[in-house]
């Protein structure tokens, strides 16, 4: 077997759907029917999962460290809010796409700043952009509502058929559908040759350039795509909660996002989804113990994760599931262990 067909074989086998993945989505769908009183928190988890997936695309696959991913979330949130408030685009799905595109435009524009420089410069520039947007939103309070946020947003029914109800049932299934569709697309992207080239760039940009990958263009493309995802997540936030306030841009949001991704694991798409579930559960747990100081425990979790080592932690977490899967489906079907990132 020649080398190139060998690569293709392995890439294709990785891209195939596993039973575990199908089961995962069935469980998620089942949750929607099993806990009819918990729609609000579950919607929150789905939104966070989508947002985290967006960060995973640039951090886990392309290796771009960002401290200001909330910028795109915020733009999406305000765009969706303004579209609904002023009745420019009434239909939620269409508004969602428009809001995502708005964030995407910003992502494309700022990607040129981000691809320059090393990790540290990227951290600073992404953080600076998010802070800049927060300052702008505060400055133009006649449009954004300033610190009060956008108020009185009324959402129209989805496709003009399904209205948002007060229990959040429609919101949940709407978010789930959006998340699943975007997940399918992201899955397609990361397993495509394009996605493989991103991993090559992450591992060694110089080598990637040497084998003919246009590094900068690939980074711009994935950054723009990630901005679109984050914008959609922000728009979902506004549409399902009917508010948009300045804290969508807050640094804490970007920092929490990092934590979510790290809990779940970088470099595989389920990391964001699993991380979102664990993070929200931790947050609920800590805020029932100490309502005001839950941030302390979140910080402690971060410190411990880093000190123990992310890879070791994920091996522990996946140990039991993998043991079961090995028994049922044989040695080959092991759940993906997150890739190491240097």
């Amino acid at each position: 077997m020649s080398a190139s067909s060998d690569v293709g074989y392995h890439a294709q086998r990785q891209a195939r759907w596993h039973y575990g993945e199908v089961a995962f989505w069935l469980v998620v769908l089942a949750c929607g029917f099993a806990f009819p009183t918990r729609y609000l928190i579950m919607t929150d988890i789905l939104r966070l999962a989508l947002f985290t997936m967006s960060l995973d695309l640039i951090l886990g696959y392309a290796g771009i460290v960002s401290l200001g991913h909330a910028a795109f979330f915020g733009v999406g949130a305000y765009a969706a809010g303004l579209l609904a408030l002023h009745g420019i685009v009434k239909e939620p799905v269409l508004a969602l796409i428009v809001a995502g595109l708005a964030a995407m435009v910003l992502g494309f524009a700022t990607s040129f700043l981000v691809i320059r420089g090393v990790d540290l410069t990227r951290l600073m520039v992404t953080l600076g952009i998010a802070l800049l947007l927060e300052a702008l939103a505060e400055r133009f309070s006649n449009i954004t509502g300033g610190t009060d946020g956008l108020q009185g947003i009324e959402m129209q029914p989805i496709f003009g058929e399904i209205p948002f109800d007060m229990f959040g049932k429609a919101g949940f299934f709407y978010s789930l559908a959006v998340l699943f569709l975007l997940f399918l697309f992201a899955r397609r992207v990361v397993h495509s040759p394009f996605g493989l080239s991103l991993r090559a760039i992450k591992n060694n940009p110089l080598r990637a350039a040497a084998i003919g990958i246009p590094v900068n263009r690939r980074l711009i493309a994935i950054y723009t795509l990630a901005a679109f995802y984050a914008g959609i997540a922000g728009a979902l936030f506004t549409q399902t909660t009917a508010i948009a306030s300045l804290d969508v841009f807050a640094f804490e949001r970007s920092a929490d996002l990092m934590l979510v991704l790290v809990i779940g694991g970088t470099g595989y798409l389920y990391g964001g989804l699993i991380g979102a579930v664990i993070f929200r559960m931790l947050q609920e747990f800590f805020s029932t113990i100490t309502p005001q100081y839950w941030q302390f425990w979140i910080g402690l979790v971060l410190v411990v994760i880093v000190l123990v080592g992310r890879q070791r932690l994920h091996r522990w977490v996946l140990y039991v599931p993998n043991l079961i899967i090995k028994q049922v489906a044989g040695r080959k079907a092991v759940v993906a262990v997150p890739e190491s990132d240097s």
Partner: protein, 289 residues
């Protein structure tokens, strides 16, 4: 005309303060290549120690300042020996996560111990008010800051350039392996430098309570300012961050005075432009380390 000079004076005082706060970070981030986002937490610790000593125990302000330095340095060396040490060789992402975690913990801990409202340090009467020099209003407190920080800067420069410890530190930073081969205890040098930087931050925190405001969210609010100083100033020497702090201080004060509506907009734009133009900082080395 006089308002320009007064603003310039305030800007210089502000910039000097930023320099003292951030120069520890210039060492850890610029020289040791460790992204320490928790630097503001050490400054906050110093500020709160000073506040407790002065307000609750009745210590004189000038006696409390050295203690602010010592306590922050002690916390710094404790954390360096127990936690930070393990992370020097890890990726930037790990360092960022770790220090964000520490920052969150410090914010919540201080909130728990001292409450979430802004605190003030009782200043001696000699430092309050201002006097006029040729019609230019000079705040006594700000003048004191300029004097203290100016002396510190000169002292630092002398230590780095002239003393044995300074040359050891520069050697350890340039090439840790060769330095340890020459018998320099590199971890010790780094630990000491880290602690000293934390101490300076603590001193800066105590001094800044009056000007920047001290509350549990201090590390998050001013993190970006410290990072700006270091990234814009570059890491090749101590003069870079110093000039960057002055620029930032004057720019921020002038921006708030002349275009108050733009708020922090000016600073962030300035930072992004400079980083795009010179990714290694205004005064940095041209080649990436």
């Amino acid at each position: 005309m006089t308002s320009i000079l007064t603003n310039l004076f305030d800007g210089v005082a502000y910039g000097m303060l930023l320099f003292v706060l951030a120069c520890g970070l210039a060492v850890t981030l610029g020289l040791m290549n460790f992204v320490n986002l928790a630097h503001g937490a050490f400054a906050m610790a110093g500020g709160y120690v000073c506040m407790v000593l002065v307000n609750r125990m009745g210590w004189p302000f000038f006696a409390a300042l050295p203690l602010a330095f010592v306590s922050s340095a002690a916390i710094g060396i404790l954390l360096e020996r127990t936690l930070y040490r393990h992370l020097y060789t890890r990726s930037h992402l790990d360092q960022v996560l770790f220090t964000i975690g520490l920052t969150f913990m410090s914010v919540a801990a201080v909130d728990y111990i001292q409450g979430s409202s802004r605190v003030f340090i009782n200043l001696p009467a000699a430092l309050q008010g201002q006097f006029d020099v040729f019609g230019v209003g000079i705040g006594r407190y700000r003048l004191m800051i300029i004097v203290i920080c100016g002396l510190l800067t000169i002292g630092l420069q002398m230590v780095l350039a002239r003393t044995r410890f300074g040359s050891r530190l520069r050697a350890a930073v340039d090439d840790p392996r060769a330095a340890s081969g020459l018998g320099i205890n590199v971890p010790q040098v780094f630990a000491f430098t880290f602690a000293f930087g934390c101490g300076l931050a603590g001193l800066g925190g105590a001094l800044s309570a009056e000007i920047l405001g001290l509350d549990p969210y201090f590390p998050l609010k001013f993190m970006i300012y410290f990072l700006i100083v270091v990234t814009v100033g570059g890491s090749s020497s101590i003069t870079g961050p110093f000039l960057a702090s002055l620029l930032l201080g004057i720019g921020d004060v002038a921006g708030k005075y002349y275009v108050p509506k733009m708020g922090p907009f000016v600073i962030y734009t300035m930072m992004i432009v400079i980083l795009i133009w010179r990714p290694n900082g205004l005064f940095g080395r041209t080649a990436a380390r």
